[in-house]
Symmetry: C2
Subunit: 384 residues, 2 copies
């Protein structure tokens, strides 16, 4: 089977946008095609990663609208939803599309428009990801994060500050990302003194609500060679579920979806955790960065916090994590986030990351749906 390449990447400004979802998707899609130097009529499949345009905006069929707006007809279109990991699911879908031979050029555009709704309305829509036995009693994703963080800190004797360091690091990285929602450093003291949301987690332990879109263009490696000087290869990708009801998990500090999808992606790629030079992890809540570091084999169980404290995951550390600023500072437009993780790894591997550039040949993205209900891990390598 021929390897699947990525030859173009783009993302819109993340933040509070006046544009509607259709406009955001069209903006990212247009820029991605331009980035790759590919005309729309070469695209035969279009995947739109989006969780809830109907719920947020009352507009469905956005994949067909986008095919029209980008002048891609008669390309096949499909909307891919895997809640907050829809973007990662979109990467997996586009990969399968090319790997199966069904498509020679698949455009993936992820996006979400959220900020026009109140925080209460957004929370309601997002809470419906989880099991009714949870959200009907008011247990939302932030509550799970708080409970998990408390347990992690107690069990592994980790200081509260270590979580704040994740947020501080990612905010620092985000300063260098012109597309990020927040471009300001936030120090550990400010984080520790911010309002409590779900004890022990405070405001700055959470990602914001965001509008935005991101895009990637996939094709067989042979086609990539003809189109682009620089491209990346999707070396491995896999997805896996964990229990839908969080309290059924044996150990809430192990995210089985992360472990299983990581295992699959490593196996397909032939790489191991020690080969990864840069990673984008799903820091929707600071505690998740620890759990993914451990689930993916970057740290021993219960020890991710030590690596964070040592600076191991800083931009100039051994394994830079979330050089883009992460969901924390870049923002988290649900369907866009997993795609934007891929955009950052693409730019790092092709040397286009500007002030965020690190030295990397192999990169990894981990995109988490719900509270780990489904996770997609993707490993990319720079073209030889």
């Amino acid at each position: 089977m021929e390897r699947v390449a990525i030859i173009g990447a783009s993302m819109t400004q993340f933040g509070r946008r006046e544009s509607w979802i259709r406009e955001l998707l069209a903006e990212a899609g247009t820029e991605c095609l331009a980035d790759a130097g590919v005309e729309g009529d070469a695209v035969d499949h279009l995947y739109v990663a989006n969780m809830a345009s109907g719920e947020f905006e009352g507009q469905t069929g956005i994949m067909n609208a986008l095919a029209h707006d980008l002048d891609l007809l008669p390309a096949y279109t499909e909307r891919v939803d895997q809640t907050s990991s829809s973007g990662g699911a979109g990467i997996y879908a586009a990969w399968r599309s090319v790997a199966s031979g069904a498509s020679e050029m698949s455009l993936l555009v992820g996006g979400e428009k959220m900020t026009h709704r109140s925080t209460a309305e957004s929370t309601d829509i997002i809470a419906s990801i989880t099991h009714p036995v949870e959200y009907k009693h008011g247990v939302t994703l932030p509550s799970f994060a708080g409970l998990t963080a408390r347990y992690y800190l107690d069990r592994f004797d980790a200081p509260r500050e270590s979580l704040a360091r994740v947020a501080a690091k990612n905010h620092k990285n985000g300063v260098d990302n012109p597309k990020a929602q927040f471009r300001k450093e936030v120090d550990v003291e400010t984080i520790l003194e911010s309002p409590i949301v779900a004890d022990p987690l405070r405001l700055y332990d959470f990602c914001p609500i965001t509008d935005g879109s991101a895009a990637l263009l996939f094709c067989p490696e042979s086609v990539a060679k003809a189109h682009a000087d620089e491209y990346v290869v999707v070396a491995g990708v896999d997805g896996a579920t964990d229990t839908h009801v969080v309290h059924e998990r044996e150990d809430p500090t192990t995210m089985a979806g992360v472990v299983e999808s990581g295992k699959g992606a490593y196996e397909l790629s032939g790489y191991g955790p020690e080969d990864v030079d840069v990673a984008e992890l799903h820091d929707m809540f600071t505690i998740l960065e620890f759990l993914q570091m451990e689930g993916l084999g970057f740290a021993e169980k219960g020890e991710a916090w030590k690596l964070v404290e040592e600076g191991y995951t800083e931009k100039d550390g051994e394994l830079p994590i979330n050089t883009s600023g992460g969901l924390k500072s870049k923002g988290h437009p649900l369907g866009a986030s997993g795609v934007a993780q891929g955009v950052e790894i693409y730019e790092q591997l092709t040397g286009e990351a500007g002030p965020r550039q690190v030295d990397a040949d192999v990169g990894l993205c981990c995109n988490v749906g719900g509270f780990g209900n489904c996770v997609i891990t993707t490993i990319m390598e720079a073209a030889a």
Copy 2:
């Protein structure tokens, strides 16, 4: 590349159901695995074809819930949305999943729960498929059907009765389908005297609003041989878009999505229209059956109505169309419909169609999203 087989099929009772979407999906999924004699732990990918569980029911993340309910963990899950052709898109997604080597056993479950909402509410949700320039002026899918039917009848000098014959035929076929929403014959006079909805189309030219779910199980043909005595092979499948704005189409009696997806599916399969023994077409509105017959090459342009009048598409005709009863009598739970088309073809090709059985080795399904905004055509053949 190894061929992709289907080894199990099921559908729930279609109609007005007291169950919620999660229960409907679980019912079809459980029955499909039982039909194939496959345990849940063999399933590595789960696709849920569903347009709007969030909009209809306030519940998202249903693919993760279903993985949990069917005990499929850690199978990868994804929701596939292509509006009213989500089921056909699900078939295409499951096919790519196996064809790419990503999955050895992919379960597809399509479903929608609609009848608890008022007709006005359902119409609002469905209208949002189309372009805002259309639905904001009150032009919904039934209006397009009326306008297209008027034009077709005038242009091709076809009698109004020919449309009624489509509905009468499909209602007659539905009598033999125990899962159909309506199991009663309706004569041409009754159809022609039913209330006008969108002139010239009347109540009986339209499919109903329905709850229901359907499922199919996909694997490589080598795996199928080990699991099942009888199975079918997905010989060809493709999807294609047409303009999002209907008035931009050069000829409203040609559905470009049907033509293009049919072309792709024929090409991949090596079959032509003359090889098809039985077909399930998307008769959401009677006029669509004419347009698909012509777009797929079963009839010359402007002549499908003649074949229908001649009885060519009756159960005992040359090419039986909608032996299941079609969307017209079986019902149209959006995400389930395309999957249920596949279930009917599977049962016809494996000799399990009971009183609906016809003599068939090659079958075709055509699933239409929106008013032809995206169409998926699938061709299946009985295992040699």
